[in-house]
């Protein structure tokens, strides 16, 4: 039963206790979800982890943070800690209180709508151009979506209370949240249309393109099972289209790693939605 697969699989009792929950299939991977707890302000104490800075990036790698006026950014900075996130981790669960705001440095988060039967489906993705949980700084306290980590990544993390305080007296910070929310809205709408009108093959290709952009790489480290969840289809359907796309020469893949060989071909096999997403995102930023 789908219900069982999706729900029990993704939310065990263990998961609930651990804020950096992992999907079962990731249990065997190296546990790199250790919050570094490094203030971005380099103090003596932090020199020890400076090696990790290159690994986890800097707050200014996030485009929204980078776009803030110096003064406003400076007010957020003391509250920022940098955190590494493990692939598959559930950053925020649907229905939970949003108590932190996350600004990705690199990598990709997915926002999933969660149905009562436990099925979950992607409604938007967030990379270093965005933020999740920012509306918690403007009065919305409960998340309506599940936020999962699509690939190993790092982010700046700010307690919602701190973010709220700064936002209350900083127009740029408030506007950042509002404007990015508009991007999320646009993405959700396009996803709604795409889900209703486009084939699995087209959606599969669209998703790979997005993901490759976010990874800034032609290699996408994802299993077909994972992808099937995102697209809301059977795993075997993904296998079928993946195989077809591979035969067409656009990608190769093997055991959890998909490589894009011919981006143009992939674009041709995808729907217009990829381009629309890029365009609208640009328009709104």
């Amino acid at each position: 039963m789908i219900c069982k697969r999706a729900y029990d699989g993704y939310r065990t009792d263990n998961d609930r206790a651990d804020p950096y929950k992992t999907f079962p299939q990731d249990a065997s991977r190296s546990a790199l979800a250790d919050a570094c707890g490094t203030s971005a302000r380099p103090t003596g104490r932090d020199i020890a982890v400076s090696m990790q800075v290159s690994k986890v990036g800097l707050p200014l790698d996030n485009k929204l943070l980078a776009s803030l006026p110096r003064g406003d950014f400076a007010r957020l900075l003391p509250h920022i800690s940098t955190i590494a996130l493990q692939q598959g981790a559930v950053l925020i669960e649907a229905g939970d209180e949003v108590d932190h705001v996350y600004f990705p440095h690199y990598g990709m988060l997915s926002l999933l709508a969660v149905l009562r039967d436990g099925k979950a489906i992607e409604t938007a993705t967030v990379g270093r151009e965005g933020v999740v949980g920012a509306m918690a700084g403007l009065g919305l306290y409960k998340s309506l979506v599940r936020v999962v980590v699509q690939m190993p990544m790092a982010a700046s993390k700010i307690a919602a209370t701190h973010f709220r305080t700064v936002a209350a007296s900083s127009d740029p910070v408030r506007n950042l949240a509002i404007r990015y929310n508009e991007v999320l809205l646009s993405q959700a709408r396009i996803t709604a249309a795409c889900n209703a009108l486009h084939s699995i093959e087209a959606r599969f290709c669209r998703w790979l393109l997005q993901c490759a952009d976010r990874a800034a790489s032609t290699t996408v480290p994802l299993t077909q099972e994972f992808l099937a969840e995102m697209l809301g289809v059977r795993r075997t359907s993904v296998t079928e289209v993946a195989s077809k796309v591979q035969n067409a020469g656009a990608i190769t893949y093997s055991r959890g790693v998909i490589r894009i060989i011919d981006r143009a071909a992939l674009t041709r096999m995808s729907c217009e939605c990829y381009e629309t997403l890029v365009e609208q995102s640009a328009t709104l930023s």
Copy 2:
């Protein structure tokens, strides 16, 4: 070809010139899309149209306007005109400048994502609990969706420039826009999930329930063709499920009028999304 049907059908050259565009099939209906131009403040001049007030409602019929503090509402009021809208009218076209903000008094608007091939699909609906175009008051000038009138209705209309001016110095007005945007986001996400995971039958039923709520009536004045557009499916698919739902005793219908006979049965045949929509909307308001 769907493309031809949807696109050419819905945007002729005539349509472009007329701000209150109508769908072709509505051309024969009485043209009641006359903007009343009545300020809600009853001046002597307006007594002549006071008969129409009961027909078109009052600004305070809109729940968002009604929720505003007296003072803030008073600042919007001078700029409000009341307008009647014809079923099928396109209030805002995707890509167009948003130069007015609309607060429905009753009835229902649909927000449609428009694809390049002209196909359009519903991503959210707005009734008297909401507003469209409000983000134009916060820096977003171009609409990313098409807004169409689902049933004869009336709304308060404010020039975006005026709304912007008031919003700039009124927290409640600004918050209203931001908060309602959150509702639209929630709706779009649920729609995305529903489109991907639920059957046409379930979505058909969900839509009727929503529509009936907004109409505050058990009668929904819509053709199957129209509904098919909203759901992004073939007209004949709608006929099939409509017939099935009618045989189940939940509705009766005939030539553009659907009547809900057994709401409980209809709810049972619909997906959870109807309830989720209601809940999330309540949570966010």
